[in-house]
C-alpha cells in the first residue's frame, strides 16, 4: 500500500461515516412509501380501504351505550383531533407511558365504569382506529422529555440491542438495511404512523403492538404480553423516530 492508497482508504472511510450519518438523519419515510403500488392504491382510497370498516364500527361505539364517549367528548372530529399524534404519552394517573389503546381503556374503566376491552379485541382496535383517524394528516409529535424520558431511553436501548435466536436488533433491519429486500418484502424503516393498520396478512386491523410482537416472533425473541410496558415504551420510541411523518390510520400494510 502506497501512502496515497492509505490516504484514499482513510478518505473513503471518512466519507463512508459521513454518508452513514447522513442516512441516519435523513427525513423519515413512511412504510407506505416502501409498499407496492397495489397496497398504496388501497390505502389512498377510503372506499377500498378495509380498515374503514373498523373505523365505522368505532364510530358506532363512540356513541353507543348509556354513557357513551360522545357524552363527554362530543364530536370526535374536533375533540380527538391530534390525540393519536401525541400518543404514546406519560400518564400521571397511571404513572407509566400509555398508548392510545391504554388511554381509551382507562377512560372506559374510570369514566364509563365499564370493563376494559381486551387488548387486540375487535372493539378496542375499532375504537382506536376511529380515534386515530381524527388525526389523519397531522405530524407525529410525542413528548419524550420529563417523566417520559427514562421510558424513552429504555426503549431506545431496546431498539439497538440484539435479541432472539436470530440475534437481531430492531435497528439491524430497520436502520441498517431499510430499503433492501428480505425475500419478497422490502424492509421499511419500521415507523408506526399507519397504525392501527389493516394488514393484508392478518386480514384485519391490528395494533402497533401486534405488529411489534410479530417482528419479535420473526427474530425468535421472547414475546412480551400484549400491553406490556416494554412494548408501550417501544411505541413511544418509534413515534419519536417517526416525528414529522403524518398519521395515516387506518393504514394498509402487507
Amino acid at each position: 500500500m502506497t501512502p496515497l492508497d492509505v490516504a484514499r482508504a482513510a478518505g473513503a472511510a471518512v466519507l463512508g461515516i459521513a454518508l452513514a450519518a447522513g442516512a441516519a438523519w435523513a427525513a423519515p419515510r413512511s412504510g407506505i412509501d416502501y409498499a407496492g403500488a397495489d397496497v398504496r392504491a388501497i390505502q389512498s382510497d377510503d372506499a377500498q380501504n378495509p380498515g374503514m370498516l373498523w373505523v365505522d364500527r368505532g364510530r358506532a361505539l363512540w356513541s353507543d351505550g348509556p354513557r357513551p364517549c360522545a357524552s363527554c367528548h362530543g364530536d370526535a372530529a374536533s375533540s380527538m383531533k391530534g390525540v393519536a399524534a401525541r400518543h404514546p404519552a406519560w400518564s400521571t394517573a397511571a404513572r407509566r407511558v400509555v398508548d392510545l389503546e391504554d388511554r381509551i381503556n382507562a377512560c372506559r374503566v374510570e369514566r364509563q365504569q365499564l370493563p376494559a376491552f381486551a387488548r387486540e379485541s375487535e372493539d378496542l382496535n375499532a375504537l382506536t382506529a376511529f380515534v386515530a383517524t381524527q388525526s389523519r394528516g397531522m405530524p407525529v409529535a410525542v413528548d419524550v422529555t420529563g417523566l417520559a424520558q427514562p421510558a424513552f431511553e429504555r426503549a431506545r436501548d431496546f431498539y439497538v440491542a440484539r435479541r432472539g435466536q436470530m440475534n437481531l436488533a430492531c435497528a439491524s433491519c430497520h436502520v441498517d438495511n431499510a430499503g433492501k429486500r428480505l425475500l419478497a418484502e422490502t424492509i421499511s424503516e419500521g415507523h408506526g404512523n399507519g397504525y392501527p393498520a389493516y394488514r393484508l396478512e392478518w386480514q384485519a386491523v391490528g395494533s402497533l403492538q401486534r405488529r411489534l410482537r410479530a417482528c419479535l416472533f420473526g427474530i425468535r425473541a421472547s414475546l412480551p404480553p400484549e400491553g406490556a410496558d416494554v412494548l408501550t415504551e417501544l411505541e413511544l420510541y418509534l413515534a419519536w423516530r417517526a416525528s414529522g411523518l403524518t398519521v395515516e390510520a387506518p393504514g394498509v400494510r402487507r
Partner: protein, 107 residues
C-alpha cells in the same frame, strides 16, 4: 356482525353509468385451514350476494373461497330513477346481512 360500506357518487343524471362500490366485513374462511389443534376450520364464505335497485335485481354473485376476507366489489349500473340500492347476503354459516344506500338521480 357482518356490516358493510357502500360508496356511490353523490348525485348522477338519468341514463348515467353509476359506479357502485361495496366492502363487506366478513372472514371469508376458505375451509382449507386448520386451527391450532389440527381441526379443520369450517368453510364460511358469502355464498349469495344480491343487489336490488328499485324492483330489479342488478347483481347476483356467489363469492367462493378464492376471495379474500372483507370482500370489495365494484360494478356499474344504469341510473334510472332515485331509489335505494339494497344489498343482501347469506354466508355458509347461514348468517344473513344487509346494507342499503340511497341513489339520487337528477333530471
Amino acid at each position: 356482525m357482518a356490516f358493510a360500506r357502500i360508496q356511490l357518487p353523490p348525485s348522477v343524471k338519468r341514463g348515467d353509468a353509476v359506479e357502485v362500490r361495496i366492502s363487506i366485513r366478513h372472514p371469508m374462511e376458505t375451509g382449507f385451514r386448520v386451527d391450532d389443534d389440527g381441526r379443520t376450520i369450517a368453510r364460511n364464505t358469502l355464498k349469495s350476494l344480491t343487489c336490488r335497485y328499485g324492483d330489479r335485481e342488478v347483481l347476483r354473485a356467489s363469492l367462493g373461497s378464492g376471495i379474500a376476507a372483507n370482500p370489495y366489489l365494484r360494478f356499474h349500473i344504469t341510473a334510472v330513477a332515485s331509489g335505494d340500492l339494497v344489498f343482501e347476503w347469506v354466508d355458509d354459516a347461514g348468517e344473513h346481512g344487509d346494507a342499503r344506500a340511497a341513489l339520487v338521480v337528477a333530471g
